[in-house]
Amino acid sequence: MLQIRCPWCGPRDEPEFRYGGEAHLRFPGNEADPAAWARFLYYRDNPAGAYRERWVHTAGCRQWFHVIRDTTSHRILGSYRLDEPPERAR
């Protein structure tokens, strides 16, 4: 059971959140070519190590935010708001 720091509400237990997968994806728009569209729909980074990912605090303030988490240890290196750069993670 992870404990995640919501940038707005503070540290909360994992069941309060929903996972949103890889962060900083760009919606390619409806003009994307088939390969780019397939990439956007189905392909997500899956690194062993630090991963920038999205979570949403569904049971709390309902805000989406970013987390940097080590996928090999579940250590959380920090979380940051959508309008903050990863360097602001804490």
């Binding site: 397939a38 189905y42 392909y43 899956n46 090999t72 579940h74």
Partner: protein
């Protein structure tokens, strides 16, 4: 011989050093990798094969699953593949000359809502027309088939019916690892443990070998069967796969008297369980939602699945949770496997079995050995290629969506 230590054979395998090169290298010494090695030698006479494993044979999901075997998949493509596998299971112990404790005690899938019933009956109809055994049981028949289940209509989510596949069942996972490894070894396949792949050697777009912690090994063709670690291997080989790796937990109780006569699954109340031959209850539930390679999951998943199990089996209240574990499952966007060629010539992929890998073991090994031996997809796996994502021809096996208005 202790009765519970099973009849493991006197000899399993050699522990050879790798040769400079092989006709085929199978990367991943889990169940599917071992089965691939075995069938390459047995079905195709290709014995100059190495199965390389980063840790010990079966150290991934082979020993982290709930050993349920069934072929009750909705889609024709999936049903054909899993049924092929189930048929192989039915003769596998004999073929491998090894008691796998394969036991067709029946897989009962409980339904708890009208939406559940709709998808359940649809599955029964589809399977029957596909020539696969499938029965629909009403609540009374459920009670008759498995008297231990609480079929009271007063509980929060009463059982309103069930799907039954009598040919489904369980096997002893360690025995399957041992048996496939022994059989592959006997046929001349080199099983190379403690051998981590760190890179691929290529000539242009063609793969020619692997770089490992035990040195470089050349290969004619290479099959990647890395389950949850496949994305890391594919990245080394230079192409992405649409796989997310996440924890799937299971648990086992201490050993108690035999009381449960079949495999019970419930999608409405998220749990599946069976009682192994030694007497321990083996139980699983949904996977944890996040990406992970840590082979650990979140405890609330365990708490929830046990509460779910007690709804159905009040008798289990005082049984103890003995051990929990998590495998790293590789899940594709449509929850179907990915098998076939890759953008790299002579490099083939077999992954994405997600939560369904154990039951697919012989079938997966069979079709992948054929694919590797012939350099083209086995007919059963043509729809399962990596190219389906760009086309949008997904093979959704999340189960028919089930919500009511």
């Amino acid at each position: 011989m202790p009765e519970h230590a099973f009849h493991n054979p006197d000899f399993l395998w050699r522990n050879p050093d790798p040769k400079p090169s092989y006709d085929v290298i199978v990367v991943g010494g889990g169940l599917h990798g071992l089965a691939t090695g075995y069938y390459l030698a047995k079905n195709h006479g290709i014995a100059n094969v190495a199965v390389v494993e980063r840790a010990w044979l079966g150290s991934g999901n082979a020993v982290r699953n709930t050993t349920i075997i069934r072929s009750n998949y909705l889609r024709d493509e999936s049903a054909a593949l899993y049924e092929h596998s189930l048929k192989l299971w039915e003769t596998l112990a004999e073929a491998l000359d090894y008691d796998l404790l394969f036991d067709q005690r029946g897989v009962l899938q409980l339904h708890h809502s009208q939406a559940d019933v709709r998808s359940g009956t649809r599955l029964v109809h589809a399977l029957r027309l596909n020539g696969i055994d499938a029965e629909w049981l009403d609540t009374e028949s459920v009670k008759e088939f498995c008297p231990l289940i609480n079929t009271s209509q007063d509980i929060r989510y009463p059982v309103v019916g069930a799907f039954l596949q009598r040919r489904g069942g369980i096997a002893r996972h360690d025995a399957v690892v041992f048996a496939l490894a022994r059989a592959a070894n006997r046929l001349g396949v080199d099983l190379i443990q403690d051998c981590q792949v760190t890179g691929f050697e290529k000539a242009g777009d063609r793969v020619t070998g692997i770089v490992t912690s035990k040195g470089r090994i050349g290969a004619g063709r290479i099959g990647l069967v890395g389950a949850g670690r496949t994305p890391l291997l594919a990245a080394m080989a230079g192409f992405p796969v649409p796989i997310q790796s996440s924890p799937l937990q299971a648990l086992v109780s201490e050993i108690v008297d035999q009381v449960l006569n079949c495999v019970v699954m419930s999608s409405g109340v998220h749990v599946y369980l069976s009682q192994a031959h030694k007497g321990e209850l083996v139980m699983g539930a949904g996977r944890d939602g996040y990406t992970s390679y840590a082979q650990r999951g979140s405890f609330h998943i365990i708490e929830q699945q046990v509460a779910d199990a007690l709804q159905l089996f009040p008798l289990f209240g005082r049984i103890h949770l003995l051990r929990t574990w998590a495998g790293i499952v590789d899940v594709a966007p449509d929850a179907s496997p990915i098998i076939g060629p890759t953008p790299v010539e002579n490099l083939f992929l077999n992954c994405g079995w997600g939560t369904g890998g154990f039951k697919a073991t012989p079938g997966s090994g069979w079709v992948f050995a054929d694919t590797l031996a012939n350099g083209r997809p086995h007919p059963l796996v043509v729809p399962f290629g990596l190219d389906r994502f760009e086309r949008g021809d997904l093979l959704d096996e999340h189960g028919a969506a089930a919500v009511a208005h």
